[in-house]
Subunit: 211 residues, 2 copies
């Protein structure tokens, strides 16, 4: 190892305790320093500009603002900046979204500290680090054939999200410029695939999946 100064990290997460705790954890590492903490999306750009961190650890949920959007915005505005998404959602779709948005990593909040450090160091060395929890809660809870049943299509997931926002089939049809009948068909298929029969079940399902 060459004697280089510790890498500068910026934490963006509106859960202050999590943010503080993470700082404490990371500061304990000799090769890493937390150069700043941000608690709202609004402060993020200014903070990155002022503190010039090498890497940003970014939560997905910042009072309604999408962490993925903010992350890709940061990357486009600050050349050479690394962004790792930190989330509690054990969701392949979300991971894919993060990857497509050009982010450098995706880590779960229930990851071990070791995994976090490994991820940070990998990204600082120019790599990418995307990790889900293989033995995630959800899969455990629903048994063997769940993964098969979960093979929802893109459209289906899209419609689930809109249902969760409280839209009726008609409103969804409007928004997607489709027939109401099509939406109804999708809903039927979703119900069949998930083995449910009510909106209530669907929302519960969706929220457990992290939308």
């Amino acid at each position: 190892m060459e004697p280089s100064p510790p890498s500068r990290l910026l934490l963006i997460d509106d859960h202050r305790l999590f943010n503080d705790g993470l700082k404490s954890l990371l500061d304990a590492q000799t090769d890493l320093t937390v150069c700043g903490q941000v608690f709202t999306a609004a402060d993020a750009l200014a903070a990155v500009h002022r503190l010039a961190p090498q890497l940003v650890l970014l939560d997905v949920n910042l009072q309604g603002v999408s962490g993925i959007d903010l992350g890709s915005q940061l990357i486009h505005n600050f050349a050479g900046l690394y962004v790792i998404l930190l989330t509690m959602y054990n969701q392949p779709k979300l991971l894919d979204e993060a990857r497509r948005a050009g982010l450098h990593g995706y880590l779960l909040k229930d990851a071990t500290t070791d995994l976090l450090l490994k991820g940070i160091r990998t990204v600082l060395n120019g790599g990418k680090f995307f990790a889900l929890n293989e033995s995630g809660h959800f899969i455990d809870r629903f048994g063997d054939d769940f993964a098969r049943r979960l093979s929802l299509t893109f459209r289906e997931v899209e419609i689930i999200r809109l249902i969760c926002q409280g839209l009726s089939s008609e409103q969804i049809a409007d928004q997607l410029t489709l027939s109401v009948e099509t939406i109804k068909t999708h809903r039927k298929n979703i119900h069949f695939k998930l083995g449910i029969s009510k909106v209530a079940d669907l929302i519960q399902f969706a929220i457990k999946q992290g939308l």
Copy 2:
């Protein structure tokens, strides 16, 4: 100050990073030591028995298990044990529930570290510490009259819970030995009070409130 050994704390939260971060934060205090960490509700009782902590910091959401239930269970099983609920729900109702369940404190995850430490020390000295975030997201999002609108009755909350479990009005009526019409009336009132009009909205609301 008398030269007493540091107080022993146990952390119960299934978000490992949060848990680890908190440990790191707390260990930095000379008068506090984290004597253990637990990531699932199932391990909680055994851990308390083995580690004999003075105070437990407990998350509300442990894979479906209610932190409040677990907390009051711990208090009843271990005399003298203090339990502080840690949650991201900025919710007076939940706070009241925690208080009624006999827990010793309620703190938000987006509290400052100072507030957390103050809460812990207050409870360790035999006090109670219940804090909400005055400028919290949730209240902001719904305006001034939200608190008034939120004055749900016991029956209403009970019915919301059953709706969330996917039961129809008829099934709820059966279970509570009431007329379907009565359930419908309650649902109307709930919708009015919360300013919503769909099951989807209701479930979202309920989940944000921590059920």
